[in-house]
């Protein structure tokens, strides 16, 4: 029997209201926290080893302990931008259980000594933002927020800040700029937000799901929490499964659950008669993995997915079945990053654009297999050369598609050339004679 922290009662009627939340013990952990030393709360977070649920998987306790102590203005920001394609967990969590987020944020704010906290929610989530606004008003009315929280000496203002549609604002420093009323361009790091963030004050930024774990960690105790999941990936994870499966949706599992159980067991696997061609384990920014048994047997946790050559990211599994051409998947992915690039760094701005152009050339039958090498080299030039990782987030999945499905790309190139009457890029007679290093031959063929 696997532990559920969020989904055991998620559909309980009225859970979004303060009275129901209070009835099931809500805000008792805030009470407990206010009687603790802030440092003792951070110790519990460290003991729990809970890792960030927003993408990078950085240990929350460590990040919180980086904030300087002292009396300066500090801030807590909840990242509810959730724009990573395939991700939709924060939406359901916030809409159905907003008070758990508010309680988690109040505890975290107290632990780091912040007197102002903001929830940066993507502008498209209008209903969820309304739900949060209402919940915050209720909590403030009942004394869980505002001046002298629950009769203590601690005061906290919490507001919802609505974004206006830009994926890049999920990147923590771009989010801070958007919150400051600017264009959402990422900042140079360091200084990291923990030292110099919102309004240049020390700022802790965490994902919705990360912050929602905080009351559970206090309730169970950090060490007990760390027993859930695996030693390196503690706790549960809400996994968003979408694409070519029979029952897309959010499923909460313990980290380390076999991937097969999630994709086939909970989400029902691909429709009758279809096989999984590839899957993104952590949103469209994660390198794809093939749908073979070897990968289906992977435990779904941070380390195992990283070892397999991808990343857990936001734990958004997107399934692509064998009826979908890989070139189409690549083009769809690349176009998204081209549109969302903020344009600040050349490798990302130009690299995403040229990758789209080259993929379109494949579609239009104007490419030769040499273009695959050029595309891979463009991706290489992006990796590690940009201010934020949006560029990498396109380069990684595209490179992985070329790596795992090179044959299909080549066939697609030939097929499209033939369809457009442009003739074969590689003479048929040579096809079987190619050695392992193919690039020299491609350049000899020319185009």
């Amino acid at each position: 029997m696997s532990t559920l922290l969020f989904y055991d009662e998620i559909d309980k009627p009225g859970l979004a209201s303060l009275s129901t939340y209070h009835d099931i013990g809500g805000y008792s952990m805030l009470r407990k926290a206010l009687d603790m030393e802030p440092q003792a709360i951070i110790e519990q977070l460290l003991a729990s080893n809970v890792r960030g649920r927003g993408g990078a998987g950085f240990a929350m306790g460590r990040k919180a302990s980086f904030l300087p102590k002292g009396d300066m203005d500090k801030y807590l920001v909840c990242n509810a931008d959730e724009s990573e394609p395939g991700t939709f967990k924060d939406r359901e969590l916030m809409q159905k259980n907003p008070h758990l987020l508010i309680e988690g944020m109040a505890i975290a704010s107290y632990a780091i000594g912040a007197s102002r906290a903001y929830i940066f929610i993507r502008g498209e989530y209008m209903h969820q933002a309304d739900v949060l606004d209402a919940a915050i008003a209720e909590a403030r009315e009942a004394g869980f927020l505002g001046d002298r929280v629950m009769g203590s000496d601690y005061s906290l203002e919490l507001w919802v800040h609505r974004g206006a549609g830009a994926y890049i604002c999920g990147e923590e420093t771009a989010l801070l700029d958007a919150l400051e009323g600017k264009r959402g361009n990422p900042r140079l790091k360091p200084p990291f937000p923990a030292i110099e963030g919102l309004y240049q004050g020390p700022t802790l930024i965490n994902n919705v799901e990360t912050l929602m774990n905080v009351p559970h960690i206090l309730r169970m105790g950090g060490e007990k929490f760390a027993e859930i999941g695996t030693s390196g990936s503690t706790g549960t994870k809400v996994v968003c499964v979408s694409g070519c499966v029979r029952r897309p949706g959010n499923y909460e599992v313990e980290l380390g659950t076999p991937t097969r159980d999630i994709i086939y067991g909970l989400a029902g696997g691909p429709p009758e008669g279809r096989k999984i061609k590839c899957w993104f384990p952590g949103g469209s920014s994660a390198p794809v993995l093939p749908g073979t048994d070897e990968y289906m047997d992977l435990p779904f946790d941070f380390e195992s997915i990283a070892e397999a050559g991808s990343m857990l990211g936001s734990a958004a599994i997107i399934i692509v079945d064998d009826s979908v051409p890989i070139v189409d998947v690549a083009l769809k992915t690349a176009k998204f990053y081209r549109h969302e690039s903020c344009g600040k760094c050349t490798p990302c701005r130009e690299g995403t654009n040229w990758t789209v152009k080259m993929l379109e050339r494949i579609e239009n039958g104007q490419a030769t297999p040499m273009d695959l090498d050029i595309m891979a080299s463009v991706c290489d030039q992006i990796l590690g050369n940009c201010l934020c990782v949006l560029g990498d987030a396109m380069a990684m999945p595209i490179s992985s598609m070329i790596k795992h499905f090179r044959e299909e790309f080549e066939e697609h190139i030939e097929m499209a050339r033939e369809r457009n009457g442009l003739g074969a890029a590689i003479p048929v007679m040579n096809r079987d004679e190619r050695g392992p290093d193919r690039s020299a031959e491609y350049s000899a063929v020319g185009h």
Binding site: G86, R183, N250
Partner: protein
């Protein structure tokens, strides 16, 4: 002459929307008017702003240590009043927030939800990102465009992942998430919008239970799963407002 969508020259042009002079940048070929003084912060005393809008913006400004933080919510409020981020809307926000119109325009052009041209009052964002596309999102967009026809009240556009891939293919209709959609729903959405009725009540995301309580579906739509990015004319497929 505008090439038709099937015209190969249009596909070769990278499917990027261009102005008649061939550039993606408006008026690139016109020199800046150096005689013209840059727009300064408009005076609130001489700018007509309704009390309602001013108070709402001021209310937002009070939430932050730095008033400039209210730029996004303030522009959103003004857009609601004016239908789009018109020069007048920007001027009003600038007057209340004591910022230059130029600053606010630079912000408004960055974000996808700000309309920088006049648009129909009913906004339909059809998600055509990967998870929706895998379930027919591109076909839904086309059906929606067809259903909207040339009704000037409709503003139908493609959108990147809206964070609701569990109800793919989906759309956000004036902010209300609905799905999974089929092509017949598109007609119904347009009818309900134009007659002022609530939209697709049985498919609203807000009423949906979590997935584990739903029956296993049996598959995917058979038609319209071609995700080869045939969509050309949509606002979102431009290299991006963030580039400018």
């Amino acid at each position: 002459m505008t090439p038709s969508p099937s015209d190969p020259s249009r596909r070769l042009a990278g499917q990027v929307r261009r102005y008649s002079h061939g550039s993606r940048v408006p008026d690139w070929d016109r020199a800046a008017d150096l005689q013209k003084a840059p727009a300064v912060i408009p005076d609130l005393a001489t700018t007509r702003v309704s009390d309602e809008l001013r108070e709402a913006i001021e209310q937002y400004m009070s939430r932050y240590p730095d008033r400039r933080s209210a730029a996004l919510p303030a522009l959103m409020l003004a857009q609601k009043v004016h239908g789009w981020c018109s020069p007048l809307a920007i001027e009003q926000v600038a007057a209340v927030m004591r910022l230059t119109p130029g600053y606010l325009s630079s912000v408004a052009t960055f974000y996808d939800m700000f309309e920088t041209e006049p648009k129909g009052e009913h906004t339909v964002y059809v998600c055509t990102n990967i998870s929706c596309a895998l379930r027919g999102g591109d076909a839904i967009y086309e059906a929606m465009v067809e259903a909207a026809g040339d009704d000037p009240r409709m503003n139908v556009r493609t959108f990147e992942c809206l964070g609701a891939c569990d109800i793919a293919p989906m759309a956000s209709v004036n902010g209300e998430y609905v799905g999974p959609l089929d092509e017949a729903d598109c007609r119904q959405i347009v009818d309900e919008l134009t007659s002022g009725r609530p939209v697709l009540e049985h498919k609203r995301l807000r009423d949906r239970p979590s997935a584990i309580d739903l029956p296993m579906g049996d598959g995917l739509p058979t038609a319209g799963r071609d995700i080869s990015n045939r969509i050309t004319a949509s606002g979102n497929d431009v290299a991006g407002p963030k580039d400018m």
